[in-house]
Amino acid sequence: MPASHNVAVLLEDGLLTLNRAVGVLRRRNVPIECLALKPSGTAGVSELTFVLKTDAATAGRVVQQIHKIIGVRDVVLVATEDSTTEVQS
């Protein structure tokens, strides 16, 4: 059942690491609702957050794949919002 999954990633500064992390979303063919990058509060580390619109198993797999990227320090599923009540057009 598709739901919105909020994922937060701590990653080292640098376009290559960011590119790799975002590339996983494309490579694994997962739709995203939004994506943001901000300083983490620690020098040299950024926090990437995105919202996936997918089922829980797929969201879990994305977290696993991003966790493998060299330069990623941590990744967690922050929250899941059930979207079954969304209006169907």
């Binding site: 701590l10 620690t42 879990g60 493998k68 060299i70 330069g71 941590d74 967690v76």
Partner: protein, 583 residues
């Protein structure tokens, strides 16, 4: 002791000091400083290939046969892009390869300079890590780190892109330097313990050593309770040399063993517990065993679609224990009852120690009843089975066989009796036609004392047959076998079964392979009859240099049985469909 060296010299020195003794490559403008420095390093043997794709496959073959990192080198632009298929092949099959590419000078990057390409961007999804080295002072550390990352954990390819001016830049170099944590540059030092929400990690069970033991205990309990258990072993068993541990586990419990395509040779054929290969072209009894099993213990495999068929119908009665080094593989393709993240050898050793001795006699008897007579797939007397029997006899089974992709690959996988570990090398995940001939060169360099046979179809052989010249120039005595049926046979088989027998673009013309061999100055034979077979194969095998044998086989032979793509393992095709589907 420190000395001033150029980036190119540092590349060579770093490789030599890391123990690299052979590299596969092709020079060009942006990598010329490296090739200039190479002349001062005779311990670093360079194999000049005829196409950079072959360099990547050869490095891959070297890595798979030796367990060490294979290294390939190319120039910028087309040289780098030609590596891509080889790197993707290594990535899919978890092979430790390091690619070094030249890049245009830093000031030209981003300006669409001559032979400039974004090889970093192109290889992001098919490498474990890649680097654009912008400062020569970082180069030695990057090389050490790349070699370590390629090999550690689940192996895979790493690419280092070095701009030409960085190759020419000088800096201080200290011999055998980075003995520090090779990942320090990538992981940093001071930030390692930082986390978003400590303790809230959603990652799979078994990630910490304590959980491994819990997983092992639970797996042992499931093994004790199972009536129809199976062991399925894959490439991870070969990568971690877990042969004695797997054998000990199988023999202590009496559980029959299935080897995936990349797991072939990890368990000896002929062992009473050996069952064979599963999946799309697996024997009927193997797939039926999977469908009847109540427990599958998978070690170092991915449960990929060629193994499972339609996952909805895969092993419907079985609980699955999945042991893999890569936690992202656990539960990726099939739901698991117990996931254990760890090295195949270590986890299997612990599991073998934990399980109680048992037997599976009734289950083995049941599986024996699943056996069907092999369908008569071949007309004429030069059947692939006979060819492979002659190869086994000529080599005494003491050779490594490298296969390409297609029908011959499946015949070799199913019919050649592998009894020695890691003697079957093939492109499994990516299914790269053209792999066998160049990869076999790398295998030979890793195992110079052993005969290496590259077996290809007439399609795949023609993709990289230019490497015969490399074998001649570099004196690489690879034996090449071409199964010539005049078709792209596996595609033709699919057309026969699923596309109304419309053989669209699959008939393929070949040159006269005997004359081709002659043109390269190597012996060549054409075998059409089984009567000629044994003598020719023995001669080719005993020839001290490279040799080529063409086997003219039945044009429309098929690989049976076959699970249709997306089909269930319970529904094999065992004969040509009476009425072909499709249009």
């Amino acid at each position: 002791m420190t000395e001033m060296l150029t980036g190119a010299q540092i590349l060579c020195r770093s490789l030599v000091e890391a123990g690299v003794d052979v590299i596969f490559g092709y020079p060009g403008g942006a990598i010329m400083p490296f090739y200039h420095a190479l002349g001062d390093h005779p311990r670093l043997r360079h194999i000049l290939v005829r196409h950079e794709q072959a360099a990547a496959h050869a490095a891959d073959g070297y890595a798979r046969a030796s367990g060490r990192v294979g290294v390939c080198v190319a120039t910028s632009g087309p040289g780098a892009t030609n590596l891509v298929t080889g790197l993707a092949t290594a990535h899919m099959d978890s092979s430790p390869v390091v690619a070094i590419t030249g890049q245009v000078p830093r000031a030209m990057i981003g300006r669409d300079a001559f032979q400039e390409t974004d090889i970093i961007g192109m290889t992001l999804p098919i490498t474990k890590q890649n680097y654009l080295v912008q400062d020569v002072a970082e180069l030695a550390g990057v090389v050490a780190e790349a070699l370590a990352i390629a090999q550690e954990g689940r192996p895979g390819p790493v690419l280092i892109d070095v701009p030409k001016d960085v190759q020419n830049q000088k800096t201080e170099y200290r011999s055998s330097q980075p003995s520090q944590d090779p990942r320090a540059g990538a992981r940093g030092q001071s930030l390692g313990s930082q986390s978003l929400t400590p303790g809230a990690s959603p990652l799979t069970p078994g990630a910490s050593p304590g959980n491994v033991q819990d997983g092992v205990r639970e797996a042992a309990r499931l093994i004790a309770a199972a009536e129809r258990p199976l062991l399925m072993i894959g490439h991870g068993v070969i990568l971690s040399s877990a042969y004695p541990e797997v054998r000990a586990l199988a023999e202590k419990t009496g559980i029959p063993v299935i080897t995936t395509l990349l797991g072939i040779s990890a368990f000896p054929e002929g062992h009473p517990l050996f069952l064979g290969m599963p999946g799309m072209h697996g024997e009927v009894r193997v797939n039926r065993a999977i469908q009847h099993a109540d427990l599958i213990v998978g070690i170092g495999l991915r449960f990929d679609d060629r193994v499972t068929g339609n996952t909805a119908g895969f092993a419907p009665r079985a609980r699955i224990v999945h042991i893999d080094l890569d936690r992202a593989e656990i539960g990726k393709n099939v739901p698991v009852a117990v996931g254990i993240v760890g090295d195949a050898r270590e986890v299997t050793r612990r599991l073998a120690a934990e399980v109680s001795p048992r037997t599976c006699e009734r289950w083995l008897e049941e599986i024996r009843e699943f056996t069907r007579p092999r369908p008569a797939a071949f007309r004429g007397d030069l059947a692939p089975e006979t060819i492979l029997a002659s190869l086994y006899e000529a080599t005494g089974g003491r050779c490594t066989i490298v296969t390409d992709v297609g029908q011959h690959q499946m015949w070799v996988a199913k019919l050649y009796p592998y009894r020695r570990p890691n003697t079957h090398i093939t492109s499994g995940g990516l299914g790269t036609m053209g792999f066998a001939v160049p990869a076999a060169m790398g295998v030979h360099l890793a195992r110079p004392g052993e005969t290496v046979w590259a077996i290809s179809g007439d399609g795949g052989f023609q993709m990289n047959m230019a490497e015969i010249a490399t074998m001649v120039q570099e004196k690489l005595p690879v034996k090449m076998a071409v199964f010539n049926n005049g078709y792209l046979g596996m595609v033709r088989q699919w057309q026969q079964f699923f596309h109304g027998k419309r053989y669209s673009c699959t008939p393929i013309w070949s040159p006269d392979y005997v004359k081709l061999a002659e043109a390269y100055g190597i012996p060549g034979w054409r075998v059409k009859q089984a009567a000629e077979l044994w003598d020719v194969v023995a001669q080719a095998n005993d020839h001290p240099g490279p040799a080529l044998v063409e086997f003219v086989i039945e044009q429309e032979a098929n690989v049976y049985p076959m699970i249709p793509p997306g089909g269930s393992l319970s529904e094999p095709i065992e004969a040509e469909p009476a009425t072909a589907a499709g249009d």
